[in-house]
Amino acid sequence: MSTHRFAVNVTPKPGILDPQGRAVEGSLGHLGIDGVSAVRVGRRVEMTVDAADEPSARAIVERLASELLANPLIESYAIESVAGASSTVGEPGG
């Protein structure tokens, strides 16, 4: 068995109105910032997965992301490994 740390980044699909992103954009003027556009607000979910190996762990995260964390009608997701957080547990026959 080995332990892996992942993050799933969920964002609204292109073309989906993102009122939170608009609200953030709307506040930029108050900060005296310009030149920033197309702000999209998403969600990042991090998790630790114990599995036989990295591909098996990633497959679990893929299923979790597609069935629960993102709604495919309105959101896309990307899975990333979180560096430095993975470890292999020495387990005979594991």
Binding site: G15, I16, L17, P19, Q20, A23, R43, L68, L69, N71, L73, I74
Partner: protein, 249 residues
């Protein structure tokens, strides 16, 4: 004997009592169905009530979708069982893929609690047949933060073509609201869609609350026709009749 209609209770449901009351007023025997139970106890129809199931964490309705009772509801719906989702219940049905589309954050980002008008597009469904007329404005409240109906354009066109738009936001005179008409369509739903029905006509969801507008003391009785339609259809289903002639228009 009055027909038994189930009301699912999730942790965070808050309209289950209103719904059981409205169902009883319409002559049904309401049966509360706890989210952890896998049996629907032989009810003739199921209502998913409003509220904030599982705190609406992640996305409204998504955690509820995976509860034991929803597996039973999915199987019930697949066999033609009548299912109505109100507000959060509509969000659960959409997340479960039992009705088309998704409910996004309201355009204005704010939670909205106020009266709106909706009109039924069709009367030939188990959820609308007791209404007086299609297109007639029905006044009832909304209370939601994520009620902006969304589907992509080809899906919206397909919904219109197949007569799956069940309710639309209208103004007090019954004129269809525009997408950007914040007075009549406050959450900004695409094509002013307030409720939809499944392709085979036995599952429907809507964001407004007919159960909160089902008797005069509540300020409006306009929602009673929707509840009555469901109870009557459930009674017919329980007695072995086809609920009503349904199918794409």
């Amino acid at each position: 004997m009055s027909v038994r209609v189930g009301v699912v209770v999730f942790p965070g449901s808050n309209c289950d009592r209103d719904t059981t009351h409205a169902l009883a007023m319409a002559g049904a025997e309401p049966v509360e169905l706890w989210h952890e139970q896998a049996s629907l106890e032989g009810v003739a129809a199921v209502v998913l009530p409003g509220g904030f199931a599982y705190g609406d964490y992640l996305r409204a309705g998504v955690i509820a979708r995976f509860s034991p009772v929803m597996r039973a509801v999915g199987a019930f719906a697949a066999e033609g069982g009548l299912v109505l989702g109100i507000c959060n219940g509509f969000q659960v049905l959409a997340e479960a893929g039992l009705v088309p589309g998704a409910l996004l954050r309201n355009r204005g980002l704010r939670f909205l609690g106020r009266d709106v008008h909706i009109a039924a597009e069709r009367l030939d469904t188990p959820f609308t047949h007791a209404l007086a007329a299609a297109g007639q404005p029905l006044r009832m409240p909304i209370a939601h933060g994520e009620g902006c109906y969304f589907a992509d354009d080809p899906s919206l066109d397909a919904l219109e073509r197949d007569s799956q738009v069940l309710f639309r936001y209208v103004d007090a005179d019954g004129r269809r609201a525009g997408t950007d008409d914040r007075a009549a369509n406050p959450n900004g739903s695409l094509r002013a869609i307030a409720g939809v029905i499944s392709g085979n006509g036995n599952v429907a969801g809507l964001m407004p609350h007919p159960e909160r507008a089902a008797e005069a003391v509540l300020g409006s009785e306009d929602g009673a026709g929707i509840i009555r339609s469901l109870v009557d259809s459930a009674a017919r289903a329980a007695s072995g009749e086809t609920a009503v002639a349904v199918g794409a228009g």
